[in-house]
């Protein structure tokens, strides 16, 4: 024992109490049960390795591709997700009903500058682009993803920029967060072509925390949301629902497949999780948190609201100064809504929520909120 007990007698007493409490627990013999389960997993792994001539090659290809992508000199590689004109300017809903991550048409406000005009030639170093970044926020149904748009220097690799932002920076909205342990960095990110089509690759690294395991205190739901945060952010930056292979770099920095990240299985490329179970179902997109606007101002967002009903309130402290409702364009899938608010100058909290189909029996409605200053 290396610790120095302040009161040795009391330490001994606690030691005795804890030992007394459990020393006569005789657990059921379980080696057979454990062996039965590990034998299965060995067989599965061997099967994977047997079929792995290709897999080993694929891994080597990953290493090469990632090496290429980390080199800024080659970032115009067609496989790299660049913020090309098509990526920045086509808001749409893809076939699966998942909202496109192209920037919406924000009303100009200091907090959400409109997308820059992408140039056809290689961008100068100082150019910026607007990238979608997902964060975790608590909702009445557990941790879910919310989305913000961040204006960041454009280094020609939007995936790397966006995922780095997601794991390592604080969101604008104080209700959101990232749960990735501090010190987590994205070593490389990009796309590679393989037989099955395009695959996104994200290589994480953390020299102080073992990312394979969920840190003590992180719930399985938070861990799952954190993995989905990377999947959604990478796909949004690429503007494409490609599967995402997460890799972990350790020691010398050589990336490798890992069975788990934050205890979530990630050995295979991941498809995005079901949006209904992954995303918060009401988002305010514009104005952003902390925005200064002039009255009247327009509010835009996405909601998968019950019967497409979207309710809103403008609050001054606890006092509701304005309220109203609108309908999203579609019910039950993340669909755009917008409304206009008129209010005298002041500081407010804008709250948007869906209607409660259960009349108070079920979980609280989905909701998002933003702090807004209306200036004269």
């Amino acid at each position: 024992m290396n610790h120095t007990p302040q009161r040795p007698g009391e330490d001994d007493q606690l030691r005795r109490l804890l030992h007394d409490a459990v020393d006569d627990v005789q657990p059921v013999h379980a080696l057979g049960a454990i062996r039965a389960r590990t034998t299965n997993s060995s067989r599965a792994r061997r099967g994977w390795l047997l079929g792995a001539g290709g897999a080993v090659l694929a891994t080597a290809a990953t290493v090469a591709a990632v090496a290429v992508l980390t080199d800024p000199g080659t970032s115009r590689d067609p496989g790299v997700a660049g913020p090309g004109p098509s990526a920045a300017a086509s808001p749409s809903t893809d076939a699966s009903g998942i909202p496109s991550d192209a920037a919406p048409t924000p009303s100009p406000s200091p907090a959400t500058p409109p997308s820059g005009t992408p140039s056809q030639s290689a961008p100068p170093a100082a150019e910026t682009s607007t990238v979608p970044v997902y964060y975790v926020g608590d909702t009445s149904r557990g941790p879910r993803l919310f989305r913000e748009f961040h204006r960041l220097p454009d280094d020609g690799n939007a995936v790397l920029t966006a995922v780095t932002e997601a794991v390592s920076t604080t969101p604008d909205d104080p209700d959101y967060r990232t749960d990735w342990p501090s010190g987590t960095e994205v070593l490389a990110a990009g796309v590679q072509e393989n037989d099955g089509g395009r695959e996104l690759v994200v290589v994480l690294r953390n020299d102080t925390t073992d990312l394979r395991l969920a840190p003590v205190g992180m719930t399985p739901e938070e861990a799952q949301s954190s993995v989905e945060q990377l999947v959604y952010t990478a796909q949004a930056a690429l503007q494409r629902r490609a599967p995402v292979q997460l890799l972990l770099a350790r020691g010398t920095g050589r990336e490798q497949r890992t069975d788990t990240l934050l205890s979530v299985p990630v050995s295979e490329p991941l498809a995005e999780g079901d949006p209904a179970r992954t995303l918060a179902q009401v988002w305010i997109i514009d104005p952003a948190d902390g925005a200064r606007v002039t009255s009247p101002f327009e509010v835009n967002g996405l909601a998968a609201a019950f019967e497409a009903n979207v309710l809103w309130e403008l609050r001054d402290g606890d006092r509701v100064v304005q309220e109203g409702f609108t309908t999203a364009e579609e019910c039950c899938t993340m669909a755009p809504y917008s409304f206009e608010v008129t209010a005298p100058p002041g500081e407010y909290t804008l709250v948007v929520q869906d209607s409660d189909p259960s009349g108070g029996e079920g979980p609280e409605p989905w909701q998002d909120s933003k702090r807004i200053t209306v200036v004269p």
């Binding site: 290396n2 606690l14 030691r15 409490a21 459990v22 080696l31 454990i34 590990t38 997993s41 069975d259």
Partner: protein, 169 residues
């Protein structure tokens, strides 16, 4: 356990099971109280360690991984279970002639119930320190927190546990 070079995953499970299974289950009982749950947590942890053995390779790493996984899974089981059972000070019988076994049983129940009243971190630090006799550094590593935090959880936890047990008396 010095001649462990070259253990494969199966051998690692067999050897670490023989040496540590009972202690790890008891550790988990201190954290989750229920023996059946603790057995499941520890069995799952052994299966997880088997899957990771290629990377762990050394018995010490295997044991450290088991400890950390048992603590993590015990905690997540508690969270999953959701409802934290309220602590009810036990009714102490004033009957004469209560036999020794029953008294000892009652005391064990009190200690486990009191542990369940503590915040998770304090409970974990106390169990690792006073049951597994880990050093502050080892506890810090197992829980992924600083040594300073270990110290403060230990002293607060010890004080709170004493307080709870005195109340129950």
């Amino acid at each position: 356990m010095s001649s462990a070079a070259g253990w494969d995953a199966d051998t690692a499970v067999d050897e670490l099971y023989a040496a540590h299974y009972h202690r790890l289950v008891r550790l988990s009982v201190l954290l989750v109280r229920d023996v059946g749950t603790a057995e499941e947590v520890v069995q799952d942890s052994f299966v997880a360690m088997h899957g990771r053995w290629r990377k762990l390779r050394e018995p010490d790493n295997g044991l450290a991984y088991l400890r950390q996984t048992v603590v993590n899974r015990s905690r997540s089981v508690l969270r999953h279970r959701g409802v934290r059972e309220r602590y009810t000070p036990p009714v102490v019988s004033d009957q004469r002639g209560v036999d020794e076994d029953a008294l000892a049983e009652e005391r064990r129940r009190q200690v486990l119930a009191a542990l369940r009243e503590l915040p998770g971190r304090q409970r974990e630090v106390l169990a690792l320190r006073y049951y597994l006799d880990l050093s502050e550094a080892e506890i810090a590593e197992t829980l992924g927190i600083s040594r300073g935090a270990v110290k403060s959880h230990a002293s607060r936890g010890a004080a709170a546990l004493r307080h709870l047990l005195e109340d129950a008396r």
